[in-house]
C-alpha cells in the first residue's frame, strides 16, 4: 500500500507532462515508471486463472464450487481487459468499462446460480452436480 500511495503525485505530474507533449505534437511517452512492466506478465496470470477455472469446472462436484471456478475464469477476463487497457491507453477507456460490465454481469449470474442451486437443494437436499442424473447428460 505505501508504494501505491506514493504513486499518486507522480501520476499527476505525468498527466501534466503528457498534456504538454501533446500540445507540442510529440509522441506520448511517460519517461519514468512502468518502463519494464511487461504486458505479458498480466496475460500469463490471466491465462493461469482461466486454466485453473477450467480445472475446477471439470473436477468439482458441488454446484457452488463449480460456480466459484467460473468466477475465477471471469476474473481472468478482467485481468486481461484492464491490462490491455493500460497497454493501449487509447482515449476510449473501453477496457475498464468492459471490465465493469463483466463484474456486473457476473454478479447477476451468481444471483441466478445460487437461486437455482437453492431450488434444487430444496427439492433433493443435495447440491452435487453428478447427482443430476434424471436425464442422462
Amino acid at each position: 500500500m505505501p508504494l501505491l500511495r506514493r504513486r499518486k503525485p507522480r501520476k499527476k505530474r505525468c498527466r501534466h507532462d503528457s498534456k504538454e507533449l501533446e500540445a507540442r505534437g510529440l509522441e506520448l511517452r511517460i519517461p519514468e515508471g512502468g518502463e519494464l512492466v511487461l504486458l505479458n506478465q498480466f496475460l500469463i496470470l490471466g491465462a493461469l486463472l482461466f486454466s485453473l477455472g477450467v480445472y475446477g469446472l471439470l473436477v468439482r462436484r458441488n454446484a457452488v464450487m463449480v460456480l466459484l471456478s467460473i468466477e475465477l475464469m471471469l476474473n481472468a477476463v478482467n485481468v486481461n481487459l484492464v491490462a490491455f487497457e493500460s497497454f493501449l491507453r487509447n482515449a476510449g477507456a473501453g477496457g475498464q468499462i468492459f471490465a465493469i460490465f463483466v463484474i456486473t454481469v457476473a454478479a447477476a449470474e451468481v444471483g441466478i446460480g445460487l437461486a437455482i442451486i437453492l431450488l434444487i437443494f430444496r427439492n433433493r437436499t443435495s447440491a452435487n452436480v453428478d447427482e443430476l442424473d434424471l436425464m442422462k447428460w
Binding site: G113, L132, L134
Partner: protein
C-alpha cells in the same frame, strides 16, 4: 452533454422495456384470479413494439447509427428484430394456456420472457463487443431462470442448472476471446476491429480469440460439440420455454455469430470458415443419428433443432471460400434458413403442447392414433414435421434449397463434401420426422391413452392461433418463397453484398 440518441430507432426496445415493467407492476396489484391480464398486456406490448419497426422500415432515412457506431438500425437489424418480435409473440400465445394451467408465477414469467425478447432486439442492432455481450446475457439470463420455472419438478430444476452452468461457461469463453480481440486491435466497435484486424488474421492469438468466440456462441446455438445442455434443458423446461430456446434464443446466437464474423472478422474467414465447417458437419451428423433413437417427442425436437443448427451453419462455412458476392449469398441463405426454421419449429412445438395435452404424454408411442381423434392437429403436425424435413412445397424446402445453393455455389471441393454430408443428413432426418407422422396417422390408439373427453377437448384459443399463424407462414412461404427471400436479401447490407 447528453448522448446523441435517436429515439425512433430505439422505440421498439423502449416499448418492450416499458411493457415488461408494466407487466411486473400489474402482477403486483392484480388479485390471483385476474393474473391473466399480465399475459394480455405482454401480448399487446409485443404487438406495439412491431409498429415502430414498420415505421423504421418505411422511413427513407437509411441506416441509423448512433453512439459511435455501437448501435445501428439497418435493414439487417430490422428484419431480425421483426423475426424476434413475431417469434416472441407466438411464444407468448403458446404460453398463455400453458402457464395458467399450472401453479406458475405468471407475471414474472411474462416479465422474464419480455426481457429476453428485449435482449434479442438489442442484439440485432449491437455493433460493438460490450453491447453485444450485454445483449447476449439479457437473452440468456432470463432463460436460465425460466428453464427451472416448473419449480416442483426435478427435471425442470436439472434443466435449469445444466443450462445455467454451461451457459455461464460459454460466456466465460466468449469473454476471454473478446478480451484478446480488444487487446490485439485496441477497438471495441466491429468496424474498428475489422479495420485494425485486417492484417492480423494469421496471428495465433487472433485465431485463438476467434475460436473462443465461436465456441462461446456455439453453446448458444447448441451446435455439436457444445450441445449437451439442449436435449435435457428442452425436456425439463416448460415446453413454451423450450420452444423459445430452440427458436429465439438460437436465432439470437446465430445473429451474434453472423454479426461478429461478418462485420468484425471479414478478413479472417480463412480461420472461421473451417471451424464452422467442422461444427456444421458434426452438428448435422451426430444430432441426426441420436435423434433416430429418441422416444420422447421433445427430446426428438431438441436433437432435430441441433441438426437444424448444423444446416444453418453450412452457408457460413461456404462464405469462407467465396468472393464478396458469394459472401452476401451465403449470408442471405443463413438468414432465410433462420426465418423459415423459426416458424416451422415454433409450429412443431405448439403442436407438441397441444398434443401432449390431448394424449397426456410426451412419449411418441403414446401419440398413436392422434390423427383419428384430432384430425386437424394431426394434419398440422404433418405440415410442420414434413416442413422440418424439407419436403416440397412446404417452406422448409426453400430453406434447404437456398442452403444447398450457397454450398454448391462456393464450388470448392470442401463445400461440395459438406453439401453431400448435408444431403445424407436430410435423408436421415426424414426418417425420424416421418416416423412421428406415421405414429400419429397409422398407429392404433394405445391402451394408455386418456379418456374421450380429454382427447377431444378443444385446444386453447391462443395456442390454436399460434399454430394457425405458423402453419399459414410455412405453407404460404413454401409457394411464394420471394416473401422470405425479399427480407433475407435486405439483410445482405451487413455482408457488404
Amino acid at each position: 452533454m447528453a448522448p446523441d440518441i435517436d429515439y425512433l430507432a430505439l422505440a421498439p426496445e423502449i416499448t418492450l422495456a416499458v411493457t415488461a415493467v408494466v407487466v411486473l407492476l400489474l402482477d403486483l396489484f392484480l388479485p390471483r384470479r385476474q393474473k391473466y391480464w399480465t399475459a394480455i398486456v405482454a401480448v399487446l406490448g409485443v404487438s406495439f413494439a412491431a409498429l415502430p419497426l414498420i415505421a423504421l422500415a418505411v422511413s427513407d432515412v437509411g441506416d441509423r447509427a448512433m453512439l459511435g457506431g455501437s448501435f445501428v438500425v439497418d435493414d439487417f437489424a430490422l428484419v431480425l428484430k421483426g423475426l424476434f418480435v413475431i417469434a416472441g409473440y407466438l411464444v407468448l400465445l403458446m404460453s398463455v394456456g400453458y402457464v395458467e394451467s399450472d401453479r406458475y408465477y405468471q407475471g414474472e414469467y411474462y416479465f422474464l420472457l419480455l426481457m429476453s425478447i428485449l435482449g434479442s432486439m438489442v442484439l440485432a442492432s449491437s455493433r460493438d463487443l460490450i453491447t453485444l455481450f450485454i445483449a447476449v446475457e439479457l437473452v440468456s439470463q432470463p432463460m436460465y431462470l425460466l428453464a427451472g420455472w416448473r419449480k416442483g419438478d426435478l427435471r425442470s430444476n436439472e434443466a435449469s442448472l445444466k443450462y445455467f452452468l454451461l451457459g455461464v461457461l460459454a460466456s466465460a469463453l466468449l469473454l476471454y476471446g473478446m478480451s484478446f480481440v480488444y487487446g490485439l486491435t485496441g477497438e471495441l466497435t466491429f468496424a474498428g476491429i475489422a479495420a485494425e484486424g485486417a492484417g492480423k488474421a494469421g496471428e495465433p492469438a487472433f485465431i485463438m480469440a476467434i475460436l473462443f468466440i465461436i465456441a462461446g456462441f456455439g453453446f448458444k446455438v447448441s451446435a455439436v460439440p457444445f450441445h449437451f445442455w439442449a436435449p435435457d434443458t428442452y425436456e425439463g423446461a416448460p415446453t413454451p420455454v423450450a420452444a423459445y430456446l430452440s427458436v429465439s434464443s438460437k436465432a439470437a446466437g446465430f445473429v451474434a455469430l453472423l454479426v461478429v464474423l461478418y462485420s468484425a472478422f471479414p478478413d479472417a474467414s480463412g480461420v472461421w470458415g473451417p471451424a464452422v465447417w467442422i461444427l456444421a458437419a458434426l452438428s448435422m451428423t451426430l444430432a441426426n443419428l441420436t435423434a433416430l433413437r429418441q422416444t420422447n417427442i421433445v427430446r426428438l425436437l431438441a436433437y432435430s433443432s441441433v441438426a437444424q443448427a448444423g444446416f444453418m451453419l453450412v452457408p457460413f462455412a461456404a462464405a469462407a471460400t467465396t468472393d464478396a458476392v458469394g459472401l452476401g449469398e451465403a449470408f442471405a441463405a443463413t438468414v432465410t434458413y433462420i426465418v423459415i426454421y423459426a416458424f416451422m419449429n415454433l409450429g412443431a412445438f405448439a403442436v407438441v403442447i397441444a398434443g401432449a395435452r390431448k394424449t397426456g404424454t410426451g412419449d411418441i408411442e403414446g401419440w398413436g392414433g392422434l390423427g383419428s381423434y384430432a384430425p386437424a392437429l394431426g394434419a398440422l403436425a404433418a405440415v410442420f414435421f414434413f416442413s422440418l424435413a424439407g419436403i416440397p412445397p412446404l417452406a422448409g424446402w426453400i430453406a434447404k434449397l437456398v442452403m444447398f445453393g450457397a454450398a454448391m455455389g462456393a464450388g470448392s471441393p470442401w463445400m461440395i463434401a459438406l453439401a453431400v454430408i448435408a444431403a445424407i443428413n436430410a435423408v436421415i432426418a426424414l426418417v425420424y420426422y416421418a416416423r412421428v407422422v406415421k405414429t400419429i396417422w397409422m398407429d392404433p390408439v394405445p391402451a394408455t391413452a386418456p379418456e374421450e373427453e380429454v382427447r377431444t377437448a378443444s385446444v386453447a384459443g391462443s395456442l390454436g392461433l399460434a399454430i394457425g399463424l405458423s402453419a399459414a407462414v410455412v405453407v404460404v412461404a413454401g409457394f411464394f418463397p420471394s416473401l422470405v427471400t425479399f427480407f433475407s436479401d435486405a439483410t445482405k447490407v451487413l455482408a457488404g453484398g
